[in-house]
């Protein structure tokens, strides 16, 4: 039973990661493989603050989201000057740089050893200790972020994002400050992703840089693309499927390490397959055409 709850917590975390990236990539059309960096920054800020400052959960999440948002601003700036392919390389660069900082700033982040012993969060006097507590917490945040994203997607703001995705020049000619929209969506996406990181850090109690590498970024973008770029519900479904699938493999008796490899082969192959036959994914409406 606890195992089931564990899976559900992971699903919530990946749903948050996927829909936040979907806003950036699926709705606004900016392909980014830096998302695990925002995820990691959120996790580390929460861990560092709770371990060193013993600050309350709310403060930690606020700081994580803010700092991650600022990072999102930084990552968004090149999108104003560099076009698609090269922008992906730029996001790759950010991902590597941020991960390098997490790996090397030993005094702050514990380097490759990571940080452990992250205390359980306390919200309004209530201590979150069991798996079930964490599930409720994760679900609440997941639903909140999903709601916010849906509101954004279906608003005139979201309409401008879709316009930017298809034709930036038309959007400019229609009087939209494209630069501001692009940066804003990066800030929001980064902030949301960091919340997933905060939940992860508190839940597992221990973090190290390997959980936030470029391969993780590729996994998150795979969820978005397979579920369908530009479809939030697609991201929800794909996150669920891609988290559950490797766990099912474990039940058919595959050794643990191999299961991780097979999971990656599965989503890697799905990625190639979808590009060949249905670039817009299951439920999406954007196929990265130009």
């Amino acid at each position: 039973m606890e195992y089931l709850i564990h899976i559900c917590v992971l699903i919530c975390i990946y749903v948050i990661l996927a829909i936040s990236l979907d806003l950036i990539t699926g709705y606004t059309g900016m392909l980014s493989i830096a998302h695990a960096a925002f995820y990691g920054v959120g996790a580390y800020i929460a861990a560092i603050m709770s371990l060193n400052l013993h600050s309350p959960f709310i403060v930690n999440i606020g700081c994580a989201a803010t700092l991650s948002g600022l990072l999102g601003l930084l990552v968004g700036i090149p999108s104003l000057r560099i076009r698609d392919d090269y922008f992906v390389v730029a996001t790759f660069a950010f991902q590597v740089i941020i991960l390098s900082i997490l790996n090397n700033w030993m005094s702050l982040t514990g380097g490759s050893m990571g940080l452990s012993g992250i205390p359980q969060p306390q919200i309004l006097g209530f201590r979150i200790s069991s798996h079930l507590h964490f599930l409720v917490l994760a679900c609440l945040f997941c639903i909140l972020i999903l709601w916010i994203s849906l509101r954004i997607a279906h608003s005139p703001f979201g309409r401008v994002l879709k316009a930017i995705r298809e034709d930036e020049i038309f959007a400019q000619a229609a009087g939209k400050n494209v630069a501001a929209f692009k940066i804003l969506v990066f800030v929001i996406g980064a902030g949301m992703a960091s919340i997933a990181g905060v939940i992860y850090a508190y839940y597992i109690g221990f973090i190290d840089p390997t959980s936030f590498s470029v391969m993780e970024s590729i996994f998150i973008i795979s969820i978005v693309i397979i579920g369908g770029a530009g479809s939030l519900w697609g991201s929800v479904v794909a996150a669920t499927v891609l988290v559950v699938l490797p766990e099912l493999l474990r039940f058919i008796g595959l050794p643990g390490a191999m299961a991780a490899n097979i999971r990656q082969i599965i989503y890697g192959s799905l990625l190639v397959a979808f590009m060949l036959w249905r670039p817009r994914g299951f439920l999406g409406n954007y196929g990265f055409h130009r």
């Binding site: 392909l31 493989i33 090149p78 000057r81 560099i82 076009r83 698609d84 392919d85 090269y86 992906v88 390389v89 730029a90 790759f92 660069a93 950010f94 590597v96 740089i97 390098s100 900082i101 790996n103 090397n104 020049i169 391969m215 590729i218 973008i221 795979s222 693309i225 390490a257 191999m258 490899n261 097979i262 990656q264 082969i265 989503y267 890697g268 192959s269 799905l270 990625l271 190639v272 590009m275 060949l276 670039p279 196929g287 990265f288 055409h289 130009r290």
Partner: protein, 316 residues
């Protein structure tokens, strides 16, 4: 990180404070840098060539490096063939996989009119599949091919360099020269450059774009596999060994100028040297961050690199 800081690049002597010792140390680092730079340049040149001709980023290119290494391991350690024969087989099989990727994935994608982003995404997927396949087949642990005694190599003006390392540098320099010659003096080279600068026009003139791209991938994969093979024969191998040379190769390509083979070669060398001098001067692990920051700066300020052509067209 392992490739660049392992026992590969000769003994860095005990910290001698005297002038001579320091100079010798710097020289060894420079030589190491040239070796590493050659390795990354070989991968980067292929990457840049493919982009120049096909207008897409083949991120899975890093895998021909890894495959070159693992094929040598497969044939020599598991099939017990001689090292020389294994190398020959590897230089055939690894590029073959590169061609397979083009034929099975990229060509159909282009046929459907897929944009460069779609192809880029597909290449990420291919990289993930291939790296994990190697992990499953060979395991994640580091392997090594001990072809008899550890290569002693020679001492070149006071710096230690092994035979495979010399071969790496030599092949890199030769490849740059030959490839530049091919691109500018031969018919197939002209076709490649034509296809790269204006695919629509080239196709209208009857150039078979698919064939030209295949040539580019063959050449690129040969160079990349060669680098991987030489690395395998010299140091240990792991499934993720291709990532670092790919990343540095991409940086070299963009900084050196993605359309310019000599530019990428030079960029790779400089990057390698900077990397090794960086190990010495600052704590070893920050080089990645620095290298990629340099990349970001170039992308923002000078996307065409030092020697490359214009890449971003006008918007209207």
């Amino acid at each position: 990180m392992d490739i660049l800081s392992g026992p590969l690049h000769g003994p860095i002597g005990p910290g001698r404070n005297d002038r001579v010792g320091r100079v010798r140390l710097v020289w060894q680092l420079v030589v190491n840098g040239i070796i590493t730079g050659s390795m990354c340049a070989l991968v980067g040149i292929g990457f840049g060539l493919i982009y120049s001709v096909g207008r897409f980023f083949h991120f899975a290119h890093g895998m021909v490096f890894t495959l070159g290494a693992y094929f040598v391991y497969l044939f020599s350690s598991l099939f017990s063939l001689s090292i020389q024969f294994s190398i020959i087989l590897a230089i055939i099989f690894a590029p073959f996989v590169g061609c397979l990727i083009e034929i099975v994935v990229y060509r159909p994608l282009r046929g459907k009119g897929a944009g460069s982003l779609v192809i880029l995404i597909a290449s990420l997927g291919i990289y993930v599949v291939l790296q994990n396949t190697i992990s499953i087949v060979f395991g994640d642990s580091t392997k090594s091919i001990r072809a008899g005694a550890v290569h002693e190599g020679i001492v070149f003006c006071g710096a230690h360099i092994t035979t495979p390392q010399m071969a790496m540098v030599l092949i890199c320099v030769l490849s740059v020269a030959m490839l530049t010659g091919i691109l500018h003096k031969t018919r197939i080279g002209h076709l490649m450059r034509a296809a790269g600068s204006d695919p629509g026009l080239a196709a209208a003139l009857g150039i078979d774009i698919n064939r030209v791209i295949l040539y580019a991938i063959v050449i690129a994969s040969l160079l990349g596999s060669a680098a991987g093979i030489l690395t395998a024969v010299d140091v240990d191998i792991t499934p993720s060994m291709g990532l670092q040379p790919l990343m540095l190769g991409v940086i070299a390509a963009i900084v050196g100028g993605i359309g310019s083979i000599p530019g990428i070669g030079l960029g790779g060398m400089l990057l390698g040297i900077a990397y090794h001098l960086g190990v010495w001067k600052i704590s070893s692990q920050w080089q990645d961050a620095i290298a990629f920051t340099i990349l970001l700066v170039f992308l923002l300020i000078r996307p065409r690199g030092f020697l490359g052509r214009r890449i971003n067209g006008a918007i209207l």
